[in-house]
Every structure is written in C-alpha cells, then in structure tokens.
C-alpha cells in the first residue's frame, strides 16, 4: 500500500504541541504513522523551508442543500465571468459567493481544507443535501440537521421530556444521516410561520408555549444525555441587530450549569457560531458599535463554550440562513431579491444578496468586529475562523483573514482605504490592537480547535500517529522575512495537500478527486414506543410526505463514515 514521508517541513501541530519545529510526517495506508513504521520505498515529499499542518477543518459553512442551491439558481449574475473551464479529471467550476459543488470541493482542497460541515440541513430536504455532498469532490463532509424550531422538540421540551427529545434526535440523525444538533434562531423561525419573530431568549413562541431559553437548555441537556460528538451548535436570536450583544450574553450564560458528557474529548456544551453577527452595540445603525470585547471577555472565562468568528470579508456575497425573519428584515433594508422557504414542522430559510462595501460605515465596523473576536481570544483552541460562508463572505477568503490576523500592518492598510475610517475606529477596538497571531494559533483555530469541538479530534486536525493522513504543505517559511500578502498567497494555493493518504493538490492545483466520505452520527438509544408513535402520527396528520418516503436511503451516502454513540 501507499507510503509517504513529508520531510523537513516546519510543523505546526497543536494536538502534539509542535510549534514550528522541523519534523518529518510519515503516512501509511491513509493514516499518520511513526517514521519508523514506513519502508524505504515510501515516496518522499520535500517540505524544507515550508510550513506543514494537518488538513483544515471547516466547522460552519453553507455549502450544500436547498437554500444554497436556490442561491446558486437565483443568482446567474454571481457566475458571470467567474467560470474555470473543465480540465483533465476536473469538471467545470463556477460561481463566486455560491460556487457549484465541484468548485466547492476544489477550492477548499486548494486552500488545504480537507473536512467541512454543512451548517444547516432542513430534515425534510436531507436527501437534497446528501445529493450535493455526493457531488462535492475531495473533502469529507457532514451536515447538521436543524432542531431549534422543530415541533416535536418544542412539544417535548415544553414538558421537560429530555429522554423523548433525545430519542427523537437519535431517530432524526439516523434518517437524515446528520452529525449534530443545530439551532437557528430558536423559536423565532417557527414564529416566522406567522410573519413574527423571537428577539430575546424569553419571547414566547406563538402557540407552542415555550421560550427560546427553554429550547436551548433542553437541547443542551438532550445532547449531553446522548453524549454526541459535537455540542449543540447555535445561531442565536436577534442576529444582525444593533444592541444584540446582551441577547448573546444571555444565551451563552445558559450553558453555565451544564457539563460536557461524551467519550470524544469534547469539553464544551455549546458552540456559538458566527459571533461577529451577535456582538453588536448601539440601538440603531447610526450609533452601531462593536461589543466584541464584552462578549469575548465572557467567552474567555467559560471553558464550556466554543465560538467561531463569522468574519466579514468586504465582498459582494449572498446571505442565507434558516433565520427566516432575519432575511425578511434584511431585504427590507437593502431591497435586494428575497427568497424564503418555510419548511413544514421543522424550520425555514431565507436568502438575500448583500454587498459589504468598504465605503459603508456599518460594513467597516462589521469587518472590525469579526477580526476583534479572534484577536481578543485567549484560548485559540476555542475560537475558530469562519466567514459563515457565504453570509459574511465566501470561504475562499480565509487566506485573507489569516493575513489580517497575522499582520497588524495588513489591517492598517485595509483601514487606511476605508471611506469612514475615523468613524469606524471610534466605534471599534481594532485600531488599538497590535496583536499578531502566530501560525501555531492559526493551526489551533483552523485545525485542532474545530476538530476537538466537533468531537473528531481522533480523526482530524492533527498529525499524531493514528490520525487520518490529511496533511498540508504551504509554501511559506516562517523564519524568513515576508510581506503580509505572502501569507495570503501561500494559504490560497497550498503547495501540497494529502487527503486520507491520497495526494489531491500539488502546487495549488487539484490532481485527484480523492476518496471523499460522508460523516454521520448513529446514536443508539433505548426503544421508545411513545416517540415512534408520535412520529407516525405527525406524518399521518401534518407532513405532506409519508413517513416511508422521509428516510435518506443508503445509496445517497455512498462512502459513509459513521460515528457510533451508545446512549442506552
């Protein structure tokens, strides 16, 4: 079988605490092994003078499924003049903010990302999500089904029925081939069924007689009852509104009384996603300001929380979220085309294009807040880089974000070209921060950290023997002088990427479609006839499909990696 030795690179691996030491990485049959375990026939990859890291792990992006595809189909202008023609073994690839599935796989791989999580799967549309995942080459993928506005969940949690909630979650993860519990605007999206919303954690959900706080607490409890690999993954109430940081702190505090219970080494009970959108002060767009410090001061003290940034990249992009009422609010602000889908018994989704302009003060402030969250972080194993792709910007901008985080000079250059630079500086902290993150911290934020938060640290995000051989070489020498743009360039086009032992990218170009897997979680629970009866009843009375036609059959997941959990 295949053996490789990646020699003489500067290795950054937080799982082993390696901080740029020169080291060799040995690979045998798709796994990392000790150098002594490979034969002399191993193929050598010379990484001298270059940076070596594990394959990066995307914890939150919208890359597959109904709303992503609606975004593609309703934005022909997003494809105009962006296409890359087909090549040997490569399909044609196009789209800027919402790339085609082929382009999604190719572009992640070229940046050294080897695993990605689709952040919001509407259960009724799970089959669609998996069809797209199947057509996304190279990267391992999983998807989070949404639970925060689900009628079963709200009805069980209204009566504090944790065991029933857990049994329903276990059933849904299995039939949808899902990974984790995603919560989007808890209660607010159900309220949107009537054109309403829940803007604080205590706003009652119409008809269901429950509050967002009760939904979140109940789902955390059910998650830990099951011991799932990942924690509850939350997009909080009141996203995108001035002054919402108090709602954010209220929600985060809900996690305080829970403790992580799982066999996967995960320590947090709540992952709070795209925190940038939730760290706003002021009470209108005129006095809008950053509250990243207040939010991160709290996050830094709480070991049971992980977060991702949701950095604004200052591009024209396409916002899409299961937060239906937010997208309606946004289209009323920018008057751009609005798509919405309410999904029976489960969730909703909205889509609106958005132009983050460096000439608009609010956009400049949003840019600063995203970076501040990363820069105020004390433990980079708990804060991860995302753009909430494509909401705050397309994922292809990660190298640029890394540049901004690693270089105060690069940040200053950007600020200098802002139209409202002085006003932006007044409303944020960014100009006063001279911190520059290290490659080790970047490896924590993009590899080891997200893998640990996902409960997949045994597979991904590190280079220790026994882990999957996802190895990336960047043409970047940390020990020689460089310009900020060199960082962006190196991280945009990896010199070498290996996915589970197969070289997939060489010199920034895709050379192989790899052996992509779909990850899902099988959580075993005790038989629960009541929940099975409830499910049958809801399908008979309220769903528009029969229960027998709801399951995602196995052939939609042709190369699965199933994580087993036993909660019996």
């Amino acid at each position: 079988m295949s053996e490789y030795l990646i020699k003489n690179g500067f290795v950054f691996d937080p799982t082993q605490g390696i901080k740029g030491d020169k080291a060799d990485i040995a690979v045998k049959d798709g796994k990392i092994v000790k150098s002594t375990e490979i034969s002399s026939k191993a193929k050598t990859i010379d990484a001298s003078g270059k940076t070596v890291m594990a394959g990066a792990v995307e914890i939150h992006a919208h890359i597959a499924g109904p709303k992503v595809n609606e975004g593609r189909n309703y934005r022909p202008e997003d494809k105009l003049f962006t296409y890359t023609p087909k090549g040997a073994g490569k399909r044609m690839a196009g789209g800027f903010s919402i790339p085609t599935t082929f382009k999604t796989g190719y572009e992640y791989a070229r940046m050294g990302y080897t695993t990605a999580m689709e952040a919001a799967m509407p259960p009724l549309f799970a089959r669609h999500v998996h069809e797209e995942i199947k057509d996304t080459p190279i990267i391992d993928e999983g998807a989070y089904p949404v639970f925060g506005n689900n009628w079963f969940v709200m009805e069980y949690l209204k009566n504090q029925e944790i065991e029933n909630t857990a049994a329903y979650i276990s059933w849904l993860l299995e039939v949808t081939k899902g990974v984790a519990i995603k919560v989007v605007n808890p209660g607010g999206t159900e309220a949107w069924g009537w054109g309403l919303n829940c803007l604080t954690i205590d706003d009652p959900v119409p008809y269901f007689d429950i509050t967002p706080a009760e939904i979140v607490k109940g789902l955390i409890e059910a998650n830990e009852y099951l011991g799932l690999p990942h924690s509850v993954h939350i997009h909080q109430n009141s996203l995108g509104n001035p002054g919402n940081y108090t709602v954010t702190l209220d929600t985060l505090k809900l996690a305080e009384k829970f403790k992580a219970k799982n066999k996967f080494g995960r320590e947090q009970v709540l992952h709070s996603t795209h925190l940038q959108f939730h760290s706003y002060g002021g009470d209108n767009w005129g006095n809008f300001e950053s509250k990243s410090k207040e939010v991160m001061d709290y996050v830094n003290t709480q070991k049971n929380i992980t977060v991702d940034t949701g950095c604004v990249t200052l591009d024209e992009t396409t916002t899409m979220t299961a937060d239906g009422p937010f997208e309606h609010h946004l289209t009323e602000l920018n008057h751009l085309k609005w798509a919405n889908v309410d999904v029976e018994l489960e969730t909703a989704a909205g889509i609106v294009p958005y132009v983050y302009s460096p000439d608009i003060k609010v956009c400049e402030i949003q840019w600063a807040i995203g970076l501040e969250i990363a820069l105020f972080t004390k433990d980079h194993m708990r804060t991860f880089i995302t753009t909430d792709h494509p909401n705050a910007g397309p994922f292809i901008r990660y190298p640029r974000i890394i540049k901004w985080l690693m270089s105060a000079e690069a940040r200053k250059e950007r600020i200098d070209t802002f139209k409202h630079g002085a006003k932006m500086i007044e409303a944020t902290h960014i100009a006063g921060i001279d911190r520059e993150l290290t490659l080790y911290e970047i490896a924590q934020m993009t590899r080891a950290g997200p893998a640990k938060s996902l409960g997949m640290a045994n597979l991904y995000g590190g280079l220790a023997p026994g882990m999957d051989a996802d190895v990336v070489v960047y043409d970047f020498n940390p020990n020689t002088p460089h310009k900020p743009d060199d960082i962006e360039k190196a991280f945009s086009r990896a010199a070498y990427v290996m996915k589970t032992g197969v070289p997939v990218v060489i010199d920034g170009e895709v050379v192989n479609n790899g052996n992509k897997r779909t990850i899902w979680v099988h959580a075993k629970v005790n038989e629960n006839p009541q929940v099975m009866r409830d499910i049958k009843d809801k399908f008979l009375r309220y769903y528009s499909v029969t229960q027998a036609n709801y399951d995602v059959s196995k052939h939609f997941v042709p190369n699965p990696y199933v994580i087993e959990v036993d909660a019996t």
């Binding site: 494809k79 087909k86 085609t100 599935t101 089959r127 057509d135 069924g193 499909v545």
Partner: protein
Amino acid sequence: MSKSVTDVICPFCGTLCDDLEVIVSDDGKKIEDIYNACAIGAEKFMHAQAADRVKKPRMQQPDGTYKEVSYDEAVDYTAKMFHKARKPLMYGWSSTSCEAQSIGHEIAEKAGAIVDNTATVCHGTTLIAVQDVGIPSCTLGEIKNRADRIIFWGCNPCHAHPRHQSRYSIFPRGYFTNKGHKNRKMIVVDPRDSDTAKMADYHFKLEQGRDYELLSALRVALRNEPLPETVAGIPREKIIEVAEVLKSGRFGIIFFGMGVTQTLSKNHNIDNAIMLTKDLNEFTKFSIMAMRGHYNVTGSGQVLGWQFGFPYAVDLSRGFARYNPGETTSNDLLRRDEVDAIFVLGSDPGAHFPISSVRKIAKLPSVCVDPHITPTSEISKLHVPVAFVGVEVGGNCYRMDNVPIEARKVVDPPEGMLTDVEFLDRVNKRLDQLMGGKK
C-alpha cells in the same frame, strides 16, 4: 397471490403524490390495480403495461419508416452524433430521475452541449422572475397546516394537478386549519370560467394578456394609492376588496400556472406576482409557488443548479457554463439554427414546441429516448425505448416545492429493456472511447 407496494410515488405531475398503493402480480411483472392515484396518474401506470409497447430501438430509414436496431447500435449512433456535433442540444430531463440527469450532464460537458429542460416552455419565465426578484415560498405542508387565503392565478388544478386541492391546498385539515376548507378563502384569476374558478369565493375573469396590469393594481391598492376605474376589465372596487381579503388573512399563498407564464409579459407577470407576495408580507404572512408540470422538472433545475449554477438553458459549449434565456433556450436555438444535433430524453418537444421549432428538429441529427411513441420519436432519426422511471425503475425526484422524494420501482421492465441511466452510461463510455481520452 398478488402483493401490494405502498408509499408509491406518482410519476405524473409536479404534485408528486407519494401515497399510492399498487397491486402487483406475484411474479413482479404486472400491475393489477392502483389505489389513491388520480385518473391521469393511474393511466400512466397502466400505459407501461400496454401490449403494443416498443421494446427495441428504431432507426429512421430514408423513406421515413423505422427499422429495429440493437441497443449497441443505438449507443454507437448517439455517441457518434455527440462526437461529431459542435453544439448539440440536450433537451427534456423532466420525466426522468436526478441520477439520469447527472450522467446526461457529464455527457454534455464532454460534448459541449446545451442542456435545457421543459421549464423552457412551462415555468422558465418563472425562473427568470425569481432571478430578478427572488421568491418567498414554503413547502406544501405549510399550506395544509396554516394557509387561510389561497389564490390560483392562471392555473386549473382541477384538471392539471388533480389531487393538489385535496392533499395540500383547499380541503385538508392541518395543525392550525382544523376546519379544512371552511378555514380558507379561495380566489381564482382566469379569463375562463374554469372548473377551479367555479369553486372560488372570488373569481377575477380578467382580459387576456392583462395579468401584469392587474397584479400592479393589487399592489397599488395595498398602498392605498388611486386606481383607474377598471384594470384588466376588473372594477376598482373589486380589486380593493380582494386586496383587503388578502391582507386580513394569517397565511396566504399564490399558486400560479402557465396561464401567466406563457401569456404576454411572461416573466414580468411572475415578477409582479412575487412582488405582490413580498408586499403582503408587510401585513401578514404570504407565499407564492409555481404549479410545476412534469414530475421531475424541478429536479432537473436542482441538479443543473448544483453542478453548473443555472436552473435550465445551460450552455456548456465553450467548456464553461453560461445561461441566458432568449439565447440559450431551446426554441430560440432552434429558430436561429444555433445547434447542429438534438438529443431528447424525458419530454416530447414534437408535441409541445411550436411547429416551426419541430420542423427544425426533424431536419437535424436527432435521438429521442422515451418509453412511449410520441410525435418526437416519430420525427427523430433514432428512437430508443427505455424503462419507465417511477414504475420500472426508481430514482430521485423533486416536488414542485423542491422537496426531494425518491421514486420507487414497482414492477420489472420488459426483459432486455435498458433504463435511462443504463443507456446514458453506455453512451458516456462510448463517447469517452471516441474522444480518446481528450476533452
């Protein structure tokens, strides 16, 4: 002994009913009875059983008659047609599975083809409108559970989507609509007294071709701006009254069909209907949905979407994807002589295109893949019969509200009959051979 297959998906219209029960003979070869289907759906299943069904590919002869050929010859002819053509049109894709569509797209990339589906003559203009102004919509279960205001604009579900009203829109009792149709007010806009219009609480019998003006008038009424005495033949007072009815509901929906998409103004009609829906969301909750025709035209748009980024009329000729209805749409391509071969699968342009376009098809190298004999098959150079998707072979499909539902196999196809997927797969491999690893 007969056996019963339950939860069967109906491969007829975009309603994609998934509760059919089919009674099948013990050997799994014959359909004996069908429950829950509408008359048209039942006929579709029974047609698969017709004794005079064509079972072998047929090649057109110089005198216009057809001669049986083998599947090998059919594969070879088709692959050679793609190899030779410089801009072939691959049309149809609406009555087949997503799996077949996906292989078709691989062939299209290699051949530099244009992939267009039946939306081009049904809801293509809807897709243009969605690209211009978006679309607030929902799944059909939302309507069943919540809707109290239902508009049918330029569509006649009583005939075209027979179970739509009983399953989703008018009669069912849902979570918040436990009185069924008594909870709902029904408004129909149609120049004719259609059977659907006869059931309505309000019927706007508008002048043909004035949908755009009437939609605008409703939007003007919502903003309390002045209106002319009549618009599209409808008195001002009626327009204002209906605007109030729409505002006063708690959850409304506009269903629209080809009466608006094919009428003058076309995409603009839908555009304005969508904007009316958006406006209504300032007062209450409102959605809008296209009454899609073929059972998997929606799926074709989805697969094209994630693979290329456009829902129909996708031009791959230059090695990358482009899209512009008016240029890359089948009827414009045929009218302007832009294509040099045509491959049809899962539709019948011979029956559904204007005769001027059909004449162009008859002149081109052409392959028609269809279980039936159709006007298209009888003017094509090659007709390839295949198994019926949804009856003799399964596969994924998308309902009119984009909900994916996997069609089931109910009976075996006749012996030796290929499926769409199998035929396309063989053409794809043959094309690879012809191209010698290039392209």
